[in-house]
Symmetry: D2
Subunit: 363 residues, 4 copies
């Protein structure tokens, strides 16, 4: 039942076509933020590039980034908008090694074992049997708690409900959350629940809507803006429960990315979305497990920047991604990226989070 | 936190328009299975009819049935197809008492209290806060276990998963299930899981599909047909877990209604759907709580025949209906009937059933 | 742009393993309605059985039926419940010819061409580009109108709306509909619209609900039961539009299968679901195109009994199946059967039917 | 059948409680971007404020904005983040006039007429009859084409399909589109279709995925970034069809708001979401009709900033909002704001747009 990290098997470059393959070609960037023609686009998988006769692994990857060869011989992954004039971009679109570029999709032993199940697993839906997925996740999180970096991506639905909001807070307090990526709405609703007991004006437990409670939402934002920061809001208003409170108290980084749907916004929300991407990527590049709950926008944003592998203490290990949503369409959006590491669960995130708390946190 | 049955407040017929209202009119059926023109159609609510100067409560109700005045002065509820020549059908379509017909929608004190929440509750969705609904349901089931009649309506999804199938079995074994209404598929998948560990050929725990496992479904049906009954199948094949096994072992009635989608079918499946309705109604007329899981067909069928109230030891009490499905559209179908007693939860029934087991059955 | 029927390429049985394969084995039925152990279960594909040294094609197929060798050397497809004592059932579960059983999935040239797209097409959703599917369907229906047998499977949603109800009627009147499989609800709502302008009490054009219009549903059923048949109802009430009217006027067979959800039912509704299956299969065995609209129950029932091929004037040709529903989950249910001939469209059937009328029927 | 603008009936302020109501109170902003306590939050409805004895209508509204009394006696609507120190914010949360604040929800005659249908219309779903809604919309758009300002809010799905992309282009070319609000994805997929015939690498007509076509997406973005603007891209690459091309050619403003999900982005995408809100609001404040297609993010963003009325040449008229999505949950999100002017259609936007083109643009 306990979790074992699958071992990564390096490709054997002492054979063809690797031996006689040429070095990967590079072309210099001449316009800021624009890649040279035939640039190579990165995938979620480990990618090796032949540089001066050696096959070098890009230390990180992210989908839709381009590989830039640095003067120290390393390969860095850069988004288009961050390309600088003079950057040496690797060009070439074959992936089998013959152009000095090798995309390696099957490095983890356990993944190979499940490869023949791919067709079957592609049909995950509300009727898939999730018992083993839950059990595997409990084992994984108990391992990752101490050995990994667990990044949670949260939509607002998870704090609308009394139990799930407290369950998530308990997971934070008990070390199962190492970073949170979310938006203005999740934080606002959570803090409204802390201060007024409501979310968007509706009581998170008894579902009642007190008179004028629709003002709570804006009142909370206004108070936060007045306080100047979430730390100060929490202190000033003596807030002592919830996701934001637990994150701040337990020093769990909380990245709040702005969107055009925002009211307010709360003080720490990042208005520039590409700056927000950079802040998010600081955490996804460290992520060993990513858990995405009921948010298509943030899930796809985080999913696109998270590779199928990461390096931890010099070892290459898989990154596990979970995506939980009540709509098949939503979870399939992420699964379509083709990663074998994505596990989708079709259910209400309230129930999902409460199950996790019940199985991970002793009461 | 504990459950209290709301008390029923009889209408006060010692006032107008009841006092001066005429007796309800009746017209005789002249064609088998056809109601006279202007027949009165029944609702889910308690309905009173003025008969020889007295206001008489129809002992039962069901939506879309018609009230028939029997020679002993009682009012019986009859489906169109069951009308006999000579039956005295009550006619009239006003419901306020003036025609001797009174539909009484607000007899239960606690319902009145929640009346002003109706607009708000109509918007239940995946984002509704369900904590209190769960807690209320735990309390209700602990009460009903000893004092009520809990009818479960089961779609096949509930037995596709290892944990939820066992959770439901535990609820049966512990007295939380008094009757089960389902179809050929639920019973077949459950028995396939008992015999082969798969449902439709897929392992209910590890999601794997062994070679030729798609035959398990038909093999199970064929074995059951050979055994002649589910009791004999269970004995012959030494089946010892699951919903069907638990129902039979605990003498919980199991009504399996046929549909055009059926393979086989299993021996006890009722081929004639109107005969199946009659068998189902034997249980819904006794029901004090109805729990419908992930089946639109059976849920609407059972919902249509279940009134908002029932009489238990001479007392009139509400019937509680829960409808759980992952699609808002599906739960709204039942809610549209307008009963205040219907509580809808939008989630995966696997999680729902496991939560119930965890909170009701001591391990 | 015009439709061309793909040609069927017979398997070449003059090669191994076919030449040295043994005859298919048969075992006699000893219990009514029960297949012998190791019975062979049929698929949607053409299946050949080696009988006395010759490879014989089962003339028809249906999923989950069993092949019975008749005394005249033909192979008949029989449902479990219809097996008679003494029937010679073919046994064996390998499908590659070595047991005298050969399942032939790639007989149609055009299907092979699209085979390498299978992975991609498996992901059909609301975001799939449907332009070509519409155009192909227009061409197909213009061909099938004269050369095929077009069976429509209708859920009630298609008659809730004014335009789509009339559009479907126009398709019937213009020869694009050769048989209709549906349930009590579709026919009832359609006739209610013809008589009262409402469906379930709601005006099909302006969406308004006149006072007491919820009685229209039962009134229509009651009138139909009084009339004794739909023909007589239409004459007696001077009904002159809609799906049922158009079907009867144009002598298009209408099979109405009963379900436990039915009110009434209407006179011709078949109460026994297995008898209803038999009536449905009379049409699906002739079907060259099957169009299923917004009904999970009837779609899966009809889909299960419809093979991927049919024989028309001695020629083997593909059967085209279209499944239209607004939910990905619903259309995937049918697609999961694996037939390359199923084309799914995720949209509201109202719009689908109106598009068909606009492009097929000159106004 | 033709469209008539409902007339607006001014409230009669020559009666109580308006006559004896006090002036609305104001409090000065003391912290940049923070409203004073008890600020009044605006709704989508016309709101009147008593200022120096006169009832003044706020010229515009937007949900969640606050009313600021300017030195010239007008009331301006300001978002929290745009509040300046010294701004006179109106305070008070009663809405019936007694505090000098009057929210007027029933100013349009035709809306009153439909008020008693509200309960019924709240249940719009895939099974609602949409014929009249389509016809009303055709009439409305023919009126608005010349007399209104039609703002379209577009999700990417609308350009994935060949026919719907061209249909939308035809609507632009024929004057039915006065402004477009969208994101990076819609514009990128549309331009990819113009240049490569694919969207996200998949042919928009025949659904095939040519080898390496997944690069088209990034190639298009890279070319656009190289060109420096969409105008220059269109010229340089000789693009001559699609939504972006038609908008630019017909001088229809196109606001592209950034999101954390963006690749690239394209040159004109606005990185700062609050600046993007400001650009969007320049159009929603002029909007007389808003049509939102298959995008929850942009729809809610635009919906929140669009009031139920607007002033056009001194006249107050309603703003019509249409929201089209295949998921009931998505359209209900917008409807929940309570505006009677929102018409929701549950269908695939491909079919919706093609219907509009077929009925509005002569071929």
């Amino acid at each position: 039942m306990n979790f074992h990290l699958p071992t990564y098997k390096e490709p054997d470059f002492n054979q063809e076509p690797f031996l006689s393959a040429p070095d990967a070609q590079t072309v210099k960037v001449t316009i800021e933020g624009v890649a040279p023609e035939h640039y190579h686009g990165l995938s979620i998988y480990p990618e090796y590039f032949k540089i001066q006769g050696q096959w070098i692994l890009a230390r990180e990857s992210r989908m839709d980034g381009v590989p830039v060869l640095k003067s120290d011989g390393t390969i860095q992954v850069v988004e288009f908008r961050n390309l600088k004039v003079g950057d040496q971009v690797i060009v070439g679109r074959s992936e089998d090694g013959r152009q000095g570029i090798y995309v390696y999709a099957r490095g983890f032993s356990s993944h190979e074992a499940s490869a023949d199940l791919f067709a079957f697993r592609s049909g995950r839906s509300r009727e898939t049997a999730y018992s083993k997925d839950y059990n595997d996740l409990y084992d994984l999180l108990n391992y990752e708690k101490d050995h990994g970096y667990i990044v949670w991506v949260l939509g607002p639905a998870v704090v609308f409900d009394y139990d799930s909001r407290l369950a998530l807070s308990a997971l934070i307090a008990n070390g199962y959350v190492h970073a949170i990526l979310a938006g203005n709405a999740m934080a606002t609703h959570d803090l409204e629940a802390a201060l007024f007991g409501t979310a968007l004006g509706q009581n998170t437990y008894n579902q009642q809507s007190p008179p004028n409670a629709h003002y709570h939402h804006l009142d909370l934002i206004n108070k936060a803006r007045e306080a100047g920061s979430l730390d100060q809001l929490i202190e000033k208003e003596s807030i002592h429960d919830g996701v934001v409170y637990s994150a701040i108290k337990n020093k769990v980084p909380l990245v709040l990315a702005g969107s055009i749907r925002d009211d307010g916004p709360l003080p720490p929300v990042i208005a520039n979305v590409y700056q927000a991407q950079d802040e998010m990527r600081k955490h996804t590049r460290k992520a060993t497990t990513l858990i995405c709950l009921a948010t298509q926008l943030h899930t796809i944003a985080a999913g696109n920047m998270t590779p199928a592998y990461t390096q931890k203490n010099g070892e290459i290990r898989p990154v596990y991604i979970y995506c939980v949503d009540i709509a098949e369409f939503a979870v399939n959006k992420l699964k379509d990226r083709g990663s074998l590491s994505v596990t989708t669960l079709v259910t209400n995130v309230q129930d999902f989070v409460v199950h996790l708390r019940n199985n991970l946190v002793s009461s």
